[in-house]
Structures are given as C-alpha cells and as structure tokens.
C-alpha cells in the first residue's frame, strides 16, 4: 500500500535561512499523526510544500504516491489542508463556498450528500445559508475545516486547528476528526496543545530548527524520553544538594524530580533521610508529551532549573 504522505530529503531555503534541513518522513495510510514543534521549527513550511504552496529547494514529497510537483493534480485531489489563518471569502454563504470548493476539484451535485454530512458533523447545518462574513470566529474555524473536506480527500492535514478555539468546540472538532480517522482518512495535525497530540495521535514527529528530532509512537516516546516524575512536598525545607541534578522544577518547598529510572526513588529518599528532611507528601507522576517535548526541543527546562537553583 502506498504511504499517505512521504517526504524524501526535503530542504527549503529562504535566502540564507534554512527552514527545512533534509526532512525524511513516511506516514502510512489510516494513521493519526502529530507534527509538533515550537514556532519557526518548520511545521507550516513542511505542510505548505505538501500542499504545493511552496516548492522544495531540494528533495521531493508525495501524497498517496503522487509527487506534489510532477503529479500535482493527483496529489492535490488526495489532500485536504486546513490553513492556520482564519481566511474566508466574504461574498458567499457556507453552502455556496463548499459547493465551489468541491467544484474546483471537479465534483458536482453528486457531492451534495457529502457536503451535507460535513455540515452536520461540524454543527454547521443551520449556518449553511449564512454569509461567511457573519459567522463567529468558532463558526469560521468550522467552515474552514469543512472547506478542506469538501472534495472528500483521503489525506487531511490540519495546521493548528484548535488555536484560539474554546474547550467545547475543541472537543467537538476532535470527535469529528476522530470519526474521519475511523472511516479511513489519514490525519496529520500540527498543534501546540501537547495534551491533544498525546490523546489523539498514534505517532508523533517533533521538529526543531527544520529537522525532525524525534519520530516514534506516542507510547514509545513517553517511555524513551520521559521517565516518571517524583513530586516531593518538603514543607518548606530546602532540597539537599545531591538531588539538584534531578530537579525539574520547584516552588514553595514543593519539588519535581525527573527520574530516568524508578530505582532513583530509593536514592532520593536516602538523600533526604541523610539530610534529615521530613517529607510532607510524595507522589509518582506519569510522564506526558510535554516532558518529551521539553527534553528534546526546549532548552527552557534547563533554564528553569538554573533559575530555581540561583534563587
């Protein structure tokens, strides 16, 4: 089976700036894939290359086996992209926009049933005849997603779809997108909400400065890069110096220690005993993607530790 998405050594330079630095990535059909990274990591550049909005400086990309440059029409037929910005055409209502969007892909009235399904799934049915200009921000976001789906693409890319969206709508969008995934659509999403990626994505790539720094199943990443955390409440007492190397964060006498192995709990307890520090409370905390993210992408965690130690 052809992969849904494939990048082969993709480079993109904007003058001096190297936005992408040799990206290799294969996403099989049916996967729910997460693309994570800080601003400027190159996520949107990568998506724009896939969508044909940018040309790679070097390397190639394909959608469902169709090269995005040489066979761009077949590639774009297979791809639906939800752009990050809330853009809309002020002249038309929601249903008209969806009909036009499907029409550009060569689909006509036979597609109307699908358009109705999207409208219903996204809770837009009673807004179908409302002009795009008059929709609220949340409704515009839904309409934007509907537009990307109008031609029923097998591969769907969502670029930060929940930025600035309230919790209720976010839940609703994810239910809808999960259903699309169950129906066989491949989903790729970029997000800043690591919790989302953790609950939704079966596999995750983390990007930093135009490179993929981690690529694995969400479960493996959590195991590999993020050990458990030990939360200690010392009732205001200082942390013994030998434990500084494990310190992740700490304030008001409550410290979070990163464990690379469970046996370190023993070490921590013995150090506390040696220093004669009383433990008010203690908890073992499961890792999350944010820990993986920070250990791979951010230097922020180190900075954090430094400032705690200095104070």
């Amino acid at each position: 089976m052809k992969p849904a998405i494939q990048f082969n050594r993709v480079h993109k330079h904007f003058g001096e700036l190297q936005a992408l630095n040799g990206i290799d990535l294969t996403i099989p059909q049916g996967e729910f894939f997460g693309l994570l990274g800080p601003n400027g990591a190159g996520k949107s550049t990568l998506i724009n290359i896939l969508a044909g909005l940018l040309k790679p400086t070097y390397g190639s990309a394909s959608v469902m086996g169709y090269d995005v440059v040489n066979d761009y029409q077949a590639a774009r037929m297979a791809l639906g992209v939800v752009p990050q910005e809330l853009v809309f055409d002020p002249f038309f209502n929601v249903r008209e926009m969806l009909r036009f969007q499907a029409g550009y892909f060569g689909r006509g009235r036979e597609n109307d049933a699908w358009v109705d399904e999207i409208l219903e799934g996204l809770g837009l049915t009673d807004k179908a005849h409302t002009n795009m200009r008059k929709l609220s921000g949340g409704m515009k976001r839904r309409a934007l997603i509907a537009q990307a789906l109008a031609h029923k693409p097998p591969v769907i890319v969502l670029d930060e779809p929940t930025a600035g969206v309230d919790v209720e709508l976010r839940q609703m969008l994810w239910e809808f997108i999960k259903k699309l995934n169950r129906d066989g659509h491949t989903i790729v999403l970029t997000t800043h909400y690591l919790e989302e990626a953790e609950t939704l994505c079966s596999r995750v790539a983390m990007m930093k400065q135009g490179e993929i720094v981690a690529l694995d199943s969400t479960a493996n990443l959590l195991n590999k890069y993020a050990g458990k955390n030990l939360r200690l409440d010392l009732g205001g007492a200082p942390l013994p110096a030998p434990l500084f190397s494990m310190l992740k964060s700490g304030e008001h006498g409550v410290y979070m220690l990163a464990l690379s192995h469970l046996s370190q709990v023993e070490f921590a307890l013995s150090e506390l005993r040696k220093a004669n520090v009383q433990i008010d409370d203690m908890q073992l905390i499961e890792p999350d993607l944010e820990d993986v993210f920070m250990s791979l992408v951010g230097s922020a965690s180190h900075r954090n530790t430094d400032s705690i130690l200095q104070s």
Binding site: N48, A74, P83, F88, F91, F100, F105
Partner: protein, 258 residues
C-alpha cells in the same frame, strides 16, 4: 473522458464564482460604470455637440458613444480580474484556489472569461441606454464584436497581471490611476486623433487603447482614423504579448507560490 469532465467542471466553477462575485455587488460593478458613462455623455454632448464635428454626417453625440462604451468595457474588464485577485490575496482566501488541482491555464481561462463577461455586459448596457438618446448606426457588426471581445480579453489579461503583481490596494490604485486611466483618456474616446497637434498624434499611435477604440468605432460608422485591419493586428499583437507574460507569471507561481 472523466478527466476532461473534471477539468471542465473545475474551470467552470471558478468562472462561475468570479461572475457571481461581481454580480452580487452589481450596483457597484455594473450600475455605477453605466451611470458614469451616461454623465460623460450628458456633459460632453451638451458642451461640445454644437462645436465639434469629427466625421461628416455623424453627430458628436453619436461619435462619442462607441468611445464611451469601449472605455467602460475596457476599464471594467480590467477591474474585474485585478480586484478579484488583489482582494483574495489581501484577505488570504486565494489559498482555497491554490490548494486545488486547477492548472495555471484553467486559472487564466476562468478569470479571463469572467472579466470579459463583466466588460462586455457593462458595454452592452451602456449601448442599450444610449439608444434612448441618439440614433446609432451599425455598419459592420463583425468589427464591433471583434474589438469588443479582443478589447475585453486584453484588459482582462492585463488585470490578472496587475492583480498578481500588486501586494496592496494602493499599488493597485496607482496602477489604475497612472496607467489605465491615462491610456483610456488619451486614446480618442472623446475626439479624433486628427484633431490633435502632430506630436500627440504620433504619441497616440503608440497607445494600444487608441486602436481598440478606433476599430470598435469603425464598426458603427464605417470610418476611422486608421484602417480596422491595422487596429486588429495591433490589438492581437498586444493581446498575445500580454497573455504570454501573464501565463509565464502564473506558470512560475510568481508572488502566488513560493
């Protein structure tokens, strides 16, 4: 067969969207240029009718009308493609077109056809309204239609070029005010170039708008400042040149795809 069908439908959809776009605001895109043309007609014909006779047995008011029709036709064909593009670029919604499998040729054909429809429609309405004011002969309907179609295609193409090139509304306004307006006004809409001093006669002959208007007017009266065949050659030459530039820009993705 399925592929042809699909391509045709894609092009037709974009064309239809572009036509509906101006039709939704027809008051601004059709009614207002018609009104402007009628104001010109009213004022110029009142002021000049008794002073100017360009061709024998042709009233000045009658002489003026083909010029006004063509001027409005050209300006509106330009305005349609250029404003559609600059608006969707500034609003960002052009991305919805760029994400589709539409080829650069399909894009060109759809935008051009919609621009031509608006130009021709505005011109036709002005013609109908003008019939209330003056008797207008038609000597060669073929020339009238030829120059109307070619003129709208030329300016529609020019509008696409300007729309792609401009990044902001004020750049577009500058294009319209410093290129399109002078070329239309200095092209013989209101006069025959034979009434100009020799220097300006020569200058006018470098203006493609002059040939479009002169050839168009020839269709009504059977008379013109130059042969309609010469005008036809010049207009076709300019159209092919601009279409080549426009398609080059679209194919390379200039300012649309990075």
């Amino acid at each position: 067969m399925r592929l042809i069908n699909q391509k045709w439908r894609g092009t037709y959809t974009l064309f239809k969207k572009e036509v509906l776009r101006f039709w939704r605001v027809a008051f601004q895109t059709v009614a207002s240029p018609v009104l402007t043309a009628l104001l010109y007609l009213l004022i110029f014909s009142h002021v000049l009718a008794s002073h100017v006779q360009v061709y024998e047995n042709v009233a000045y008011t009658a002489f003026l009308i083909p010029g006004l029709i063509m001027m409005s036709l050209l300006q509106n064909a330009f305005a349609n493609s250029s404003s559609s593009l600059i608006q969707s670029k500034v609003m960002g919604n052009i991305v919805f077109i760029l994400l589709t499998p539409l080829s650069y040729l399909q894009f060109y054909i759809a935008l051009l056809a919609a621009a031509m429809i608006r130009g021709l429609f505005v011109g036709f309405v002005i013609y109908l309204v003008a019939l209330f004011f003056v008797d207008l002969p038609i000597v060669h309907i073929g020339w009238i239609l030829t120059f109307a179609v070619l003129g709208s295609a030329l300016l529609g193409t020019f509008g696409i070029i300007a729309g792609i090139w401009a990044d902001k509304f004020d750049q577009m306004a500058a294009f319209q005010n410093f290129v399109i307006m002078p070329l239309t006004f200095l092209s013989g809409v209101f006069y025959s170039i034979h009434s100009l001093p020799p220097f300006w006669q020569v200058v006018s002959k470098f203006n493609p708008f002059f040939y479009m208007i002169d050839g168009f007017r020839f269709g009504f009266f059977g008379k013109g400042d130059v042969s309609p065949w010469l005008s036809l050659m010049v207009v076709i030459g300019f159209l092919l040149g601009l279409a080549w530039v426009c398609l080059k820009m679209l194919k390379s993705g200039y300012k649309l795809r990075g």
